[in-house]
């Protein structure tokens, strides 16, 4: 039984360990803001080039989500689209496999 599900168990352990590690660092590490690495990277670019972060303006004008809520909404949409695709296809594959033969 355990042998059959060892990959599931391994994945579970990896995820739990990852969460535990996050909880540990977020409580013990001072100055951990959990900002996006993209933003941290942009900060370093500003430092290296000696120009303030604000001076980097988009080369091609782009739409910016007006607030964090809308941004997270769009991110959720992106994830939902992926989820629908995956769920749909697995259902599409699973359906015929589970269909009982007509007597």
């Amino acid at each position: 039984m355990a042998y059959k599900y060892r990959l599931e168990i391994l994945a579970g352990i990896a995820i739990i360990a990852f969460c535990a590690l996050f909880l540990y660092t977020s409580t013990t590490m001072s100055g951990a803001e959990f900002a996006g690495s993209d933003n941290v990277g942009s900060g370093l670019i500003a430092e290296l080039s000696g120009k303030p972060v604000d001076s980097f303006t988009p080369l091609i004008p782009q739409y910016e989500p007006p607030s964090g809520e809308i941004e997270s909404c769009l991110f959720a949409l992106q994830a939902a689209f992926g989820g629908i695709l995956i769920g749909g296809v697995f259902g599409f594959w699973l359906g015929p496999a589970r269909r009982k033969p007509v007597e």
Binding site: I15, F18, F34, L44, P58, E64, E71, F75, A79, V89
Partner: protein, 230 residues
């Protein structure tokens, strides 16, 4: 792993676009060919593309005190090769640059090179190296997905270090600085992504082994062994 719009000088934007465009063209051509030969691979394409969509929208906190997202490109690189993966990534990155202000149209080329081309290429190379060995399929999938993820952030660091060499130490020292931000954050994420995608691969093998065999991803014997093992 995104480079933000405006943060790359236009000369470099052009360079990365010139590298990205031919790869995308090969990808579109291959995609047409694969779909023409066998329409039944379309659902598999949906699944591997869906994972790129989901995983690249998940920003996860990492041990370093900053957040990054996995890429999910490994599965696609194994199933369809790096060029088709580049096309999938281009779609995801275009969505993010148009609606989320993550990346941008001028830096899209650079972001496609890191997430859609170099990462999957490294993953694909690892897959080709390990495919014909007796190594367990799931370990191969783990290594491919984790390394594709890792090399995406290594490439981002490389792109930025080339554009912004440090005053003292030049390219090397700024590469190390960017690696410290992007690559170190990515290590735990890459490991978790590798394990989870190996699990997903188990389900694909369980449900549709015939597609993988037809695409020549793994041999029939390897798939049989994998099915009986786990």
């Amino acid at each position: 792993m995104h480079i933000m719009e405006g943060f790359l000088p236009w000369q470099w934007c052009v360079v990365w676009w010139i590298i990205a465009l031919p790869c995308l063209m090969i990808g579109v051509w291959q995609l047409k060919k694969v779909l023409k030969a066998d329409r039944e691979v379309l659902p598999l394409l949906g699944v591997v593309g869906g994972f790129v969509f989901i995983l690249s929208s998940l920003k996860l906190p990492s041990v370093t005190g900053s957040c990054s997202h996995p890429t999910g490109t490994g599965l696609s690189a194994i199933s369809f090769g790096p060029w088709i993966t580049a096309v999938i990534c281009a779609i995801v990155l275009l969505f993010q640059s148009l609606f989320l202000a993550h990346g941008g149209l001028s830096v899209l080329g650079a972001n496609i090179v890191s997430m859609g081309i170099v990462g999957p290429l490294v993953g694909y190379a690892v897959y080709r190296l390990l495919r014909d060995t007796s190594l367990n399929i799931y370990i191969t999938v783990f290594l491919v997905t984790a390394l594709a993820d890792m090399f995406t952030s290594v490439t981002t660091s490389l792109e930025l270090a080339l554009a912004y060499p440090a005053e003292t130490g030049g390219f090397t020292s700024s590469f190390i600085l960017f690696m410290g931000i992007f690559a170190v954050t990515q290590v735990p994420l890459a490991i978790v992504e590798g394990v989870v995608l190996a699990l997903v691969f188990k389900y694909i093998i369980a449900l549709k082994p015939d597609i993988l065999i037809r695409l020549g991803v793994f041999s029939e014997k390897q798939i049989e062994t994998a099915r009986s093992e786990c």
